[in-house]
């Protein structure tokens, strides 16, 4: 099984450990991974802020880069949602016949990490060991955009030693929303404080999700408050085994 990793611009820069965990995990499962060094960004930030022409130029670049790739794996629900939900409209409006064809051919081959594990590899037990109490945060793009459904729960339930605690108000947005967290920082923070209350009341040591963008926002506040909880991308949990623990 071969796959090409699209690390995403923000994971590459701020959360390289998530990328390293994805590599460790997938190679352990027998996947031959490659990495196109020309990759940069999927264009989500620009699309969602209203810079459509700019987003399209990035989208075009993405499609060109992966046109001949068998499978693209992306450890970010928001980026996959961008590609799946918004690329068609962008290419419809700004692209030509040929680029639209390329996009439509590529779309089924772009998978978010949990989709890759469950749907492509057909496995929910990835041989992970993580003896901690964990709560799962459902990022909106994964929940309503990709409909990841029970995939993350299936994966977490098979992690040995992991105690999963349910998060109240699971389907309510954490308040990140990309540039919303800057433009509407106060409202974003109000939503964040409500989400933190739900997280902390689980008594979990870790809050995990399929997307580091939410976790950057949640984790940043936990760190600010010296809270006894950390955020960690699910890839890093799944990459842990008895002999390979989470780095401190």
């Amino acid at each position: 099984m071969r796959a090409s990793l699209f690390i995403t611009c923000y994971n590459d820069t701020l959360f390289p450990e998530t990328g390293r965990a994805v590599v460790r995990l997938l190679e352990r499962l027998g996947v031959t991974l490659d990495f196109h060094p020309q990759q940069t960004c999927c264009g989500q930030m620009h699309a969602n802020t209203g810079f459509r022409a700019e987003a399209f130029s990035q989208a075009k670049r993405f499609v060109r880069l992966y046109r001949d790739t068998e499978t693209v794996v992306i450890p970010s629900t928001s980026c996959v949602a961008m590609i799946r939900d918004q690329y068609p409209g962008l290419f419809e409006e700004l692209g030509n016949e040929e680029s639209r064809k390329d996009l439509l051919a590529l779309l089924p081959r772009v998978l978010e990490l949990s989709e890759f594990l469950i749907d492509k590899l057909g496995m929910d037990d990835v041989g992970a060991y993580f003896p901690h109490r964990v709560t799962y945060h459902a990022s909106c793009h994964g929940l309503r955009g990709l409909h990841v459904g029970d995939r993350p729960f299936r994966l977490l339930s098979k992690v040995r030693g992991l105690e999963l605690v349910a998060l109240d108000n699971l389907d309510r947005c954490c308040g990140f929303g990309g540039t919303f967290s800057i433009k509407n920082a106060e409202v974003s923070s109000a939503m964040l404080s409500a989400k933190l209350r739900d997280m902390l009341s689980t008594g979990a040591e870790f809050c995990t999700a399929l997307d580091n963008s939410c976790l950057m926002h949640l984790g940043g506040a936990l760190h600010r408050q010296f809270a006894a909880m950390r955020t960690v991308h699910m890839a890093e949990i799944l990459a842990c085994t008895e002999s390979a623990e989470l780095p401190a």
């Binding site: 820069t13 940069t40 802020t49 209203g50 955009g145 947005c173 509407n184 920082a185 409202v187 940043g220």
Partner: protein, 491 residues
Amino acid sequence: MSAEHHSVVLDPRIAPPFPAAALPILRNSQLRKNVAHATDVIQAKRARLVAEKTDWQELRSAAAAIKNETLAHLDHYLAEFEANCTAAGGHVHWAADAAEARQIILQILRAENATEVIKIKTMTSAEIELNPALEAAGIHAVETDLAELILQLGDDQPSHIVAPALHVNRSQVREIFARRMGRTDLSDDPEALTAAARSYLRKKFLSVDAAISGANFLVAETGAVTIVESEGNGRMCLTLPRTLIALAGIEKVIPRFRDLEVFLQVLARSATGERMNPYSSLWTGVTPGDGPQNFHVVLLDNGRSPILARPVERQTLRCIRCAACQNTCPVYRQTGGHAYGSVYGGPIGAILTPQLMRMEHAQSLPYASSLCAACYEVCPVKINIPEVLIDLRAQVIDQERSKTDRAFDLMYVAMRVANGIFASAARFRLAQRLGRIALWPFTRKDGWIHALPSLGARWTMTRDLRGIPRESFRAWWAARPKVESRSGEKS
């Protein structure tokens, strides 16, 4: 709103941008509590009824389809409605904008020598700023919906489409009734307050000879008008006076009487979490001996027809004003409606208000959303609000592109620069290195950033930020011992 009452401006032309408008409200913990409580109650009721309705998704599809069909032939259906309503003894007027609508209504009332008019709650009349115009013309408008009465007596503004006074608590109501109704004898028990409103309004219902209403649906096939309500004040206003004026946005029309079998199933479940509203009324023109004999419909455009021209935005006009989107929105939950600076707040307000303003005002509203899509999930007519929000953002940026002072807009410049960076991997790698260097002075020993200047301060006001690690993922990958891949591709 007693001591904390701040002058709420619901005019998009002069309201402060959303982030600024939200700030004082975020400091009002009582209002936030009221909003959270109200929206929780309705959401829970709605969820229970939706779970029980096994054909809920099919009803949504049908409702969206009927509205799409209507919008695709709106001119035809409006003309059909006009013909049938007129044939049944009603008078139909067309108002291109708010000023004209006010003019038409004033003309009708003056012809009746009206000095007072009773009103059923209609957001549309607030949209056209009707009450001040009536007062200026010496016509006293009496709001008969309890929430609207509370707001009117309290010199306040609606904060929610269906429960406009949800930001007001019972002791505030008691104080308002004492001050404006002269009822100093009342406790703050909602029963007592409601009974006071009931007797105050009863006198009005039986004596005032002109009424103004909105409309939930205009039926093209028959010329009928439908209004749904809970209290019965609607039935009073629709039945007792001699003159009735129904003000309706042009998007309120539906093709057939039969279409109500879909809308009457989705509207109340979405709006108030009931299977049907306590009272739904339908009437056609004038019926001799029953109800108002002088009946007028004012069809209002006021910025709606241009919305039809844009393929993505057109779905905005499917809205049936149920407010389910407001009840589910996590942003609205924190701010209530006043932060949106418009009578239409929440997700629908964020897309409708800027468009009614022809994108000349309220440009901050499309950004008043984290794009979580909870609204889309509950909308009974399947308006993809996030899709519209993103398209409106694109319109705002396109406006920005032609502005001469855009170089001073830090976010605009940052986005343009970022785009240049993402165009090449080499530039991206360089930007990563430069970014790490630029953030180095702010990065503490533990690798975290606690405070940033400028735009960054908007992040660090409540959150720390991970400093940029020394080695990016791609640098780590590039340095790994390689296995040459079968295709010969450099890994």
